[in-house]
Amino acid sequence: MPIEVLADVAANTRLSPDYNVIELAAPAIARIAQPGQFVMVKAADGLDPLLRRPFSIFERLRDRDGAISGLSLLNKCIGRGTSQLYAAREGDKVSVLGPLGQPFVPVEPPAEAWMVAGGVGLAPFATLAEALAERRTPMTLFYGGRSAADLYYAALFERLGATLVLTTEDGTRGERGRVTAPLERALRSLAPQQSVTMYACGPTPMMRAVADIGGAANRKVFVSLEPVMGCGMGGCYSCVIPVRQGSGAHFVRSCLDGPVFEASNVVWERLPAGH
């Protein structure tokens, strides 16, 4: 059951001119959140923007005693709502509604978990990595960005025990090129009897590529999709994703049936380009 919390901004760390991590004192939501779930956020009162914005829950924050104290969001400025979240100051109030959506199911050892993140697509993986670490599932994070400065929070995953495979488009950190290149190589060198589940979040072309690569190797791939969303509660039918039904496609609501989908169920060619 989703809860609405008018949360204090506990901290707002600006990582770059367009990326920030905002910490929100919403422990009631963070306590019941599962890996990969999302919240609907309204950063300010007022009618422009009118609607909430969907965000993956990034970190579940803890106080010094280890008790859950809130949650953070990894934000990228792309419009008015995200710019408000970027500009928010400590002590500002932000309305948070959640947790919402179907979570990731973390695989258990001896299976391995491979997370594939592009840019701000890293957001849903911190909670997943925590859950994987609890299960002692061996995990790898394939993480791609434009340049070294865009690979935020890689150390967080390292601390949780993930093997890091980094790529940048300009070659300033890790391998130069796309994140799918080392992913394909890793798959080729993996023993056929070794079970691996992939989790991907990032730009649609990247997720589709991971879906293809995983599908060709007969490996299970889950993606966390980020369509335009109106309400997050199943009321508006705006966030639909085309999923396979017989030989055709059927629109399902991402807020209720997603945002996590098994990649082979998604009809990628019918996803809008703007995803």
Binding site: L47, D48, L50, V228, G230, C231, G235
Partner: protein, 308 residues
Amino acid sequence: MDLSIPIGSLVLKNPVIAASGCFGYGVEYADSVNLASLGGVAVKGLFLAEREGHAPPRIVETPSGMLNAIGLQGIGVHRFVAEKLPELRRLGATVFVNICGSTIAEYCEIARILSDAEGVGAIELNISCPNIKEGGIEFGCSLTGTHDVVSAVRKVTTLPVIPKLTPNVTSVAPFARAAEDAGADAVSLINTFLAMAIDVETRRPKLTNVVGGLSGPGIRPIAVRMVWDCYRAVKIPIIGMGGIATPEDALEFIIAGASAVQVGTANFVDPFIWSKILDGLSSYMERHGVSRMTDLVGSLDIPQRTHA
């Protein structure tokens, strides 16, 4: 204090109804909202058959509003009756079933099926969806079309029949009158305004459907005026809607002549809005010494104009 409102043979426990297209089939909100506490729940528009709706993007925001072109994605009346209605009944909801048709025969067929089902409170006739050609708008934009579809459905059901009117006409009041003449128990208004938004960088429409329906606080003053126009034109109750987000917004519609109101877009922002609006209505009545909600309906006080 008496918040109840009669609509045809139905008595709503209060005047606040969840608007069709903004509340799924109601069951989606059962964890968060006591559906029985609402005056009614208007479920998403249903055709006879299932429909996929338009390809996304289906919504775009505008200042103080939003455009939608969902395209009436829906599970069809048969699945609704089998899968959703029993749950809505169990939850104690007063169910307004919004129905769509591409022909009068389709409206009548759906109305018959709903009349045989247990747990339907009223039928809202969608003759005003701006987003699809076959969504009844051809009935809603013609006075004879409105009359014909309402009188045809009237003949096949004893449930309250409530046509939902479009604002995309020169004057709405004649359509309310046509509905009344045809035997409607009430009218609901307004549906969304046909509208458009363009991405100037790409010169492409922001919606796949090119055009969509504008809703939200920005349209409220126009909706209030249209309710007032209709209130002076018909005797049957009016269910008013268009941008309601606060108790004061709801009161504006009621004072203009709406017996009940529907809340749509505001529910997207605040799914817990219902108790806030209901509490606000009660405290207003207390503050103004009004014991019955019906006494507020159409209580607009226009001061005499004085000439200097």
